[in-house]
């Protein structure tokens, strides 16, 4: 039995994530949980996040989930989504807070002074809507998803990894930014696969079946 824990630390609505994973889960069991023991015993872990990263970090600490997230990120198939991706990094400009430090790098805000199209139209922040995700090489989680497929984004900050080798995809919005990272058992995305129609469901399905090389 494949047990998938979706970590709930009280920030935002996990119903969409739960339903989308449930939709492709087959016989797998999907549990939305704030219990670190459930996270520790799960076969796979999904780490979502909405809202502001300082609030997310605070709530994660308040629920005693910090250690369980680090354990999962070090040991089993792990999928970070949106703020759940950003929190894996060292530090965020949002509220000037430290993250979990799984990856070296900074979470930056879109620089408003540079947010213009080639013909001078101002780009809105948040970056909200469907944008192209350019895959950086092959990965099991991109299986069956065309390069440059569109996924649904909503965010004002993006990750800037120190190690270019972990970049799994980039997206253009005023500037090219990292929209997915991968290393060993971890895959993390800035977009919302649970809201990204077929491409998103394919990615979630790939995650559930993913056997990272150990």
């Amino acid at each position: 039995m494949n047990k998938i824990a979706v970590i709930d630390y009280g920030m935002g609505n996990l119903r969409s994530v739960e339903k989308a994973i449930g939709h492709v889960a087959g016989n797998s069991e999907v549990i939305v949980t704030c219990d670190s023991r459930v996270v520790l015993s799960a076969d796979r872990v999904v780490f979502p996040g909405q809202g502001a990263m300082p609030d997310c970090m605070r709530e994660l600490e308040a629920r005693g989930l910090h250690a369980a997230v680090l354990d999962a990120a070090a040991s089993k198939p792990f999928l970070g989504i949106c703020i759940g991706q950003q929190m894996l990094f060292d530090h965020s400009q949002e509220g000037d807070v430290p993250g979990l430090g799984v990856f070296a790098g900074e979470v930056r805000r879109f620089p408003e002074a540079r947010m213009f199209t080639a013909d001078g139209v101002r780009l809105k922040v948040p970056h909200m809507g469907w944008n192209e995700v350019h895959q950086a090489g092959t990965h099991a989680l991109w299986s069956g998803i065309p390069d440059a497929a569109r996924f649904y984004f909503v965010h004002s900050y993006y990750v800037d990894p120190a190690d270019a080798a972990i970049v799994a995809a980039t997206t253009d919005y005023g500037l090219p930014f990292t929209s997915a990272v991968a290393r060993a058992n971890i895959f993390a995305v800035q977009f919302h696969p649970e809201k990204s129609a077929e491409a998103g469901l394919q990615l979630l399905s790939n995650f559930i079946r993913w056997q990272p090389e150990s």
Partner: protein
């Protein structure tokens, strides 16, 4: 680059999709789950439900509708209509909505926008603005289907709700709503240029060209339409093909 979004809007009355003809006669147009799935298959970028249920006894039905749609449709869902309190917002999000749109309640008590976005995040809060032109280059905010003039300037109000934490603005021209002669492009452009958050244009769509104009001339980030899709006149896919032919980036 980021695609411009096309958002079909469904009016829901006591759990059924309804089509209004000149706002008088309401005809049953099917099961919300089936209609939403059809638009999803046509390539809709989001779906908006407007709950027009009049009877307070039936108001919770929309929660069941949202639950059922969210089980089967994996694109963003926005729900509006009769949202008054932060508790209303939370109940809709818990049922599976991704965004909730607030209209009259925001005018009556702007603090509800700040409270709601503080609690659930700006990305979940859409403020719906119904505007009418009052003099050249001036628009004011109306409520109650355009009957009640709040006296608020639409552009100033848009900036105000942005500062309160709205994540997006759904802008409807009450002059154009139901006319099928196209968006009020002056209004759309004025609001879109005044705020940094995305603006959804609504009201007046009668052809696919109108949708393209909303983006190219109105500078909207997304366009919303109801009747053009409901009556089988056009599919979402046709709308996107036309927009692409006009040089607009879409998800196809």
């Amino acid at each position: 680059m980021l695609a411009k979004r096309i958002i079909p809007c469904l009016d829901v009355n006591a759990g059924r999709v309804v089509k209004g003809i000149n706002f008088v006669e309401l005809r049953d147009a099917g099961d919300p789950v089936e209609v939403a799935k059809r638009y999803d298959q046509q390539g809709a970028d989001e779906i908006t439900f407007l709950d027009i249920t009049a009877s307070s006894d039936d108001r919770d039905i929309i929660l069941h509708v949202v639950e059922q749609v969210a089980e089967q449709v994996f694109i963003p869902l926005t729900v509006g209509g009769g949202v008054r309190t932060v508790d209303d917002v939370r109940r809709l999000l818990n049922a599976g909505a991704d965004k909730v749109s607030i209209n009259t309640a925001a005018v009556n008590n702007p603090q509800v926008v700040a409270e709601a976005s503080g609690r659930v995040g700006s990305q979940c809060i859409v403020v719906a603005i119904d505007a009418k032109q009052t003099s050249p280059g001036k628009w004011q905010v109306f409520t109650h289907g355009g009957r009640n003039n709040t006296g608020l300037d639409a552009i100033e109000w848009a900036k105000k709700v942005e500062s309160l934490g709205a994540g997006e603005i759904l802008l409807t021209s009450m002059d154009r709503d139901g006319t099928k002669i196209g968006f009020d492009l002056g209004l759309t452009r004025a609001v879109s240029d005044a705020v940094r958050i995305p603006v959804i244009a609504s009201g007046g769509v009668g052809s696919l060209e109108h949708l393209a104009e909303g983006v190219s001339d109105g500078r909207a980030d997304a366009v919303l339409a109801a009747s053009i899709f409901h009556f089988g006149q056009h599919t979402v896919r046709e709308a996107k093909e036309l927009m692409r032919a006009r040089g607009i980036e879409v998800r196809l």
